[in-house]
Symmetry: C2
């Protein structure tokens, strides 16, 4: 044992040097970082919303190998301030109106901290029972808030799962639909499976179908038109299905979108479900953006018909938690029998998973349903206000009617054509709007993004950042 | 504008009520949670390592719908303490020797906090340049620490990416290999693609191959034997490949494991790569567990031959950061030309991603390479110590030689057969060891898990939790 004792001493020396999880050191560094982030939020309006660095900027600043010896947290935080923050696009800025804002909240942050701090790997029930059980419970809470039909709740044989991202959620449902179908038809017909989408469906679907092995030649994109507000036309879907059947293909999967990325359009869910049912097609409802708004009863009309869909996914209440880390997915009548416990690893791609439910649970409890609804309404109201300002200004054209917290607009081609005959060309109009957006973003006071819909370049103004108030909208 | 102004006031009222990201409220709640977690680490040894709750325990405690009105953080934290913590298996406990420990560190936590606090969605370069650039830089840092051949570094046309989980990493490589092959052979031959694994390969591979659409009938599991320490035998691989070719199948993908889950065995990488090269098979190296130990030069011998592999994945230095959130994957000679900037969304399943590199960067800098190496050595030394204690006790048999920080052992069948003739039956020996492990775990003072290898039930003792010291090992 002599040698072993010497080892003890050596190792104790090492522990004394780096101390990976000493509670007092944890406390000290934890408080430091809380202050650092609180200061960051305090000063966030001083930074350009969209990062202004050039590609490769960081390589010249950072050493090209890891240091052998420890550096202090203070030194590292100084580098974060000087080197990293200039390279950030500030998604938490109140002047961030790009993409769909992914805004944080104190409580969401606190939930993440707890989840990271407990650091459990919840791949099955016993690896942390609370992680699995709380997830089932809050998913049912959320399902009820959305007024989802009972068939999506655990209490009635369905159930929900928190996925890391929408892409994962959709991939899981495609694989489930694919396997269900392959059990019916033989595996030789794998190459005949067809997935349907509209021209406005999110790119995630194409990526997921590709990963799941669907022939890219069997990914049907059904065009949409302005007259129908870029929604998926049931008639066109039926024609596409009939055409596939004629060619010996096997219609598999349809993704209907409630709130498309470019224009927040709402596909006619009930009609699409009816057709899909007729042909035995799995319907997935992608409500990534709008889903959370449906906790307000006045928006639940957009989910009409959802009881006929097979699966449903959405981001969490976008205004209050980091959209990245909690994506909800509900499955109707899960094929496999649910036993006494759920092993969520079988509901997702990865084996291991975080204690994701903790965050959603904290957010729902800390704010309460009433406040969450009001916050979503306040974003919608601010967007209405912005819409009003744009509508009053004759230079702008609102491209499609606003439904939620996003306005799609552009400089009116009518106004432009009065300036120069060259603007009779749609391409020139697009070019003008592109330049306008570039000049708005390069001033770095705010950040907006664009969409291209039916060949038309539109400017998107999306409200959802937690720090955004009316004054930010007015200035924009 | 009259109505709009009224709206302003209403919304300001709402904001004053819930205040989602007020910096001072953030500071107050942030400090509270840091203290809560520091106290948790302080008291962690008081809790049963493995949760002792019964299935469904939480449902009876938690209300069945979300509250309408806000609840205070203090009240919620009281519930976390009373209702959630009893349902946790304490992965951070120094007496956690199960699975592969996933231990946290203060710096890893700080890195997560920063990443969550900035809350950027890094799906392409412009959405936060620093997130992409820092990731490329630290991946090259890490590649150099592992002494990986240049072909895996960005600097030489390869490159690395932080994936959420090993499963994602493997799925991405299978899809890459599959698509490369489908470009050569026609798509009709999809059903002929074959994936090779050993009986010890992690379950993730089978799951990933399934998701990617590989016919489950074409997933070849090559048996391993005790005499070869449960490593994948190159001769058997060749036979399996030749057999598949004879049957008209298309050998696609081999997963070689450096450090298997059950016994930390090391497949003979160089020989396996030679054979795979001969038949044009993509080789992925799964070094999830052992990879991080290879930052120590004395372990790099296990990576011999890696320059001939196509891809390589590992968890981050398991002793220092949460294994869940950073999994490194290196790709050799990426097929697509790398342009001036990298859009990491094309390197993974999901579109959006966290600022993952921040955490690894903080860990590498805060501890420094030398300390990280020493910490891994200290875990290996503690395991050697445990191995010595087991070896001195005649009642135990060490099942396979220890290589890293895990010992596989069981009650010796020889000893048992002296007790009763019934133990001449392997099943009875397994049963006895099962009962022993159950009784160890039910005392709730420590937590170990088991493996079944070649029909034999073994007890695994894995060291890796940050708080584990010699005294914990001695008591165990």
């Amino acid at each position: 044992m002599g040698t072993l004792n010497i080892n003890h001493e050596l190792d104790d020396q090492i522990f004394n040097t780096i101390n990976p999880l000493d509670p007092e050191e944890f406390r000290r560094q934890g408080h430091k970082i809380v202050n650092f982030l609180a200061d960051y939020y305090q000063n966030i309006e001083q930074y350009p919303v969209c990062s202004q660095v050039n590609p490769g900027y960081l390589q010249n600043i950072v050493p090209n190998s890891a240091p052998n010896n420890p550096e202090s947290l203070d030194k590292i935080l100084k580098d974060v301030q000087n080197d990293i923050i200039p390279g950030l696009t500030h998604w938490q800025s109140p002047n961030f109106f790009a993409y769909f804002p992914s805004s944080g909240s104190t409580v969401g942050f606190v939930g993440e901290m707890l989840s990271v701090g407990f650091n459990v790997v919840g791949f099955n029930w016993i690896s942390s029972p609370a992680a699995t059980e709380l997830e089932s419970i809050v998913m049912d809470w959320f399902g009820k808030m959305l007024n989802l039909p009972n068939c999506f709740l655990f209490a009635s044989g369905g159930g929900g799962v928190l996925q890391g991202t929408t892409c994962e959620a959709i991939l899981c449902t495609i694989v489930a639909a694919r396997d269900q179908m392959l059990r019916k038809i033989s595996r030789e017909n794998f190459g005949k499976l067809v997935v349907y989408a509209s021209g406005q469906t999110h790119f995630s679907l194409k990526k997921s179908a590709h990963i799941a092995g669907i022939d890219p030649g069997n990914f049907r994109v059904i065009p949409t038109i302005k007259a129908k507000e870029y929604t998926l036309c049931p008639k066109s879907l039926r024609l596409a299905i009939l055409n596939d059947l004629k060619e010996g293909n096997v219609p598999l999967f349809l993704c209907a979108t409630i709130g498309t990325t470019s224009t927040t359009s709402v596909d006619p869910l009930r009609l699409l479900c009816d057709i899909s049912k007729e042909f035995g097609i799995w319907v997935h409802v992608d409500a990534a953006y709008v889903g959370s708004a449906c906790i307000c009863p006045e928006f639940q009309v957009f989910l009409d018909g959802v009881e006929n869909a097979n699966s449903f996914s959405l981001n969490d209440p976008s205004a209050l938690t980091n959209a990245l880390s909690t994506n909800l997915e509900f499955l109707r009548n899960k094929a496999t029998e649910l036993n006494q416990v759920i092993d969520y690893k079988d509901w997702q791609i990865a084996l291991s998973r975080r204690f994701r439910a903790l965050k959603l649970w904290l957010v729902l409890r800390s704010y309460g349903v009433t406040n969450l609804r009001n916050l979503i309404r306040s974003h919608v109201n601010m967007t209405k206000h912005f819409e009003g300002l744009i509508a009053m200004d004759k230079r702008f054209e609102i491209f499609v009617p606003r439904k939620f917290a996003m306005v799609c607009f552009r400089i009116s081609p009518l106004v432009l054509s009065q300036v120069s005959i060259k603007f009779d060309d749609e391409k020139e109009v697009n070019m003008f709007n592109t330049k306008l957006l570039e000049s708005i973003n390069s001033c770095s006071k705010l950040y907006l993004t664009h969409g291209i819909v039916g060949g038309t370049y539109i400017i998107r103004f999306a409200i959802g950042a937690s720090l955004t108030h009316y004054r930010h909208v007015d200035i924009a």
